[in-house]
Symmetry: C2
Amino acid sequence: MATSNSLDALVQALRRLPGVGVKSAARMAFHLLQHDREGALALSQALAQAVGSMRHCERCHTFCEAQVCEVCQDPERDATRLCVVETPADQSALERTGAFQGLYFVLMGRISPLDGIGPKDIGLKKLLDRASDGVVQEVILATNFTAEGETTAHVISEALKARGLRTTRLARGVPVGSELEYVDLGTIAHALADRR
Amino acid sequence: MATSNSLDALVQALRRLPGVGVKSAARMAFHLLQHDREGALALSQALAQAVGSMRHCERCHTFCEAQVCEVCQDPERDATRLCVVETPADQSALERTGAFQGLYFVLMGRISPLDGIGPKDIGLKKLLDRASDGVVQEVILATNFTAEGETTAHVISEALKARGLRTTRLARGVPVGSELEYVDLGTIAHALADRR
């Protein structure tokens, strides 16, 4: 497939997708050109459209097309609780539980010193301003339970406590439906310490 | 991530890529919008460009931008040998070996009755015409060694033999660098039968 310039360009462009290597990219290009040219054009337009219209919500920083996203605009939501998540996908997972009625702040990343991502890159200043609006009473830290997510939660927590704000963290424990025998020891230890 | 129309549209469009489910599509969309908008635009343009300019070579049926591809135009290639492959990726693998100087015919598919793909869909008629040009002396069947690939090779072989053309098949045997202990029995049996 090395003879054609626009095919090569397409394979190279597909490789920029996360998790797509050169073989997957070639397979995708082949599939689109041979079996789904309509899908290729739809993807082309969707990409241009999304890049052109998507920006960040002024209040919670998630992706949206308006100045303020629908969740932040919703007067039914409980503005005293602010949930901090890493990505819009995490926010979506929380929304789908239906268990949270408050508002969100989406970091659009996590602190990761190894990748050179510090507190400034995840908009810590903006979060502090948002949480200090006088309405928010509790900041729920729902960053991931990875090393980077825990670091991020710790840094945010310290900064918020310095401003006298109350922070909580999602509970650590045994996942619903799992058997103790197959749960990792760190999780069991946490579940034991946080028993209620 | 369900609140934005153009983001939803992008996730749906990405799902049309082979091997990409809803979670991967959301991760790709997030990555492109947050970290690589330039890459998103490059991909958008590459898709439109490829769909607009890629067509099939008149002689070998592979993807190319001209009427006849570079390989078919090359006067240095041995026109007496025609190698039949399923996809441009297979052709590329053969080319990279540097062991074949002849020409190709790319089926752009394989016979697969379960998927409703018969001899007509892989351009068997076109292949027969191409192989009967009076110059081709040997047709090398290099379809994959899967059930569909073997079926395809068998059907093509029968049709070509009926026209008095000589067909050969890539050798089946033990892969280079492998230990017999770990090779499957079918392969060893074939290697034994085809010993030389």
